[in-house]
Assembly symmetry: C3
C-alpha cells in the first residue's frame, strides 16, 4: 500500500530517476514495515515552474512524500524516512553554485476508509 512520490525542481536535471527508483524501492521493501514488495508504488514528478524563497540565487529542491496506512510507530516512520533520505542524499545531483534542499515527509493515510484491491 505505500505510495512514494519524489518531486524535484527541474534545475536538477538530469536526475538519475531509474537508479533512484531501484535503490529506494530496494531499501524500503527491505523494511519489515512493508510486507509485500509489490505494494510499493513509487514515482517521480518534476517542478518546472517554481521559486524558492525570495532571492534570485541558485536554489533547488528534492522532496519525497511517503504515504502509509496509519498505525506505524514514530520509530518506524523515522526509519522509513531515513531510508528514503539516504537514497536521495546519495543520488541527487549537486550542481555547482546551487543550494539543494532535501526533505522527506511521512504521511499517514486513514486506514478505516482506505480502499485497496487488485483488479
Amino acid at each position: 500500500m505505500p505510495h512514494l512520490v519524489i518531486e524535484y525542481s527541474d534545475n536538477l536535471r538530469p536526475f538519475p530517476e531509474a537508479q533512484v527508483l531501484e535503490a529506494v524501492n530496494a531499501s524500503l521493501t527491505a523494511s519489515p514495515e512493508i510486507l509485500a514488495e509489490s505494494d510499493l508504488k513509487s514515482r517521480f514528478t518534476t517542478a518546472e515552474r517554481f521559486a524558492i524563497g525570495t532571492q534570485p540565487a541558485g536554489r533547488a529542491f528534492v522532496h519525497a512524500q511517503l504515504r502509509l496506512l496509519s498505525g506505524r510507530t514514530p520509530e518506524a516512520k523515522q526509519d522509513l524516512a531515513g531510508r528514503v533520505g539516504a537514497v536521495l542524499r546519495e543520488h541527487t545531483p549537486r550542481p555547482a553554485g546551487v543550494m539543494v534542499q532535501l526533505s522527506v515527509e511521512i504521511v499517514d493515510m486513514d486506514r478505516a476508509s482506505y480502499v485497496k484491491e487488485k483488479l
Copy 2:
C-alpha cells in the same frame, strides 16, 4: 469543496478519463455529503516515471485521493471511498499480463484554516 485527484501509471493508457470523470462526479455528488455539485473538483494526473516494487513484472496502479473538509463520520468516508472505488473498478483498463493495483484514499483537510471563495 471536495478535491479529487486520480493518478494512474501510464502503462494503463488509453485510460477512459472523460468517462471516469463523468461517472465519478455523478456518483459523488449524489452523496448527501456533497451539498453542491459544483463544489467537486476532479482531475487526472499520470505517472510516467514509476516503479512498483522490485520485480520487473508488468505492474500498474491507479490511485485516487479525495480531499474533504474535516468532520465527516468514518461511515461517510467509507461510503465516499467506495463510490470512487466502484467507478474505477469498472473503468480501469486491465492489460493482459499486468497486475493492476487500485487504491482510494480519503484525506481530511483542516477546516479551521481552509480558505474558500468564488471569484
Copy 3:
C-alpha cells in the same frame, strides 16, 4: 521547510505564474512563522484533464496547498492561508462566463519523522 503547491485548471491560462510566485513568497516569508526565506519552496502545477461538478457550464479552479511542519497554532495557520488567498485573489484570471473557485489548504507535516537537510 514549507512547501507550497498551487494548482489551477488550464482554462485559466495564461496564468501569471511568475508574478504570483514572487508575490506569494514575499508575503509568506514576511510572516514570523517562516524563519528563513530560503526554506519556502513554491511551485505551480496545471490540471489539464478535469471536471468540476456535473454541469457543462464554464468552471475553473485554483487550489493552493501549503505544507508546514506540525505545531503551528490555528491562528498562525489561518494567517498563512489568508496570505496565500490574498495573492491568488488578486492575480487569478477571471475569464468571462467562467465561475472560478479559489481554495487554500494548510497541511500539517509530521515533525517527528521529517527529514530535512541541505546537500
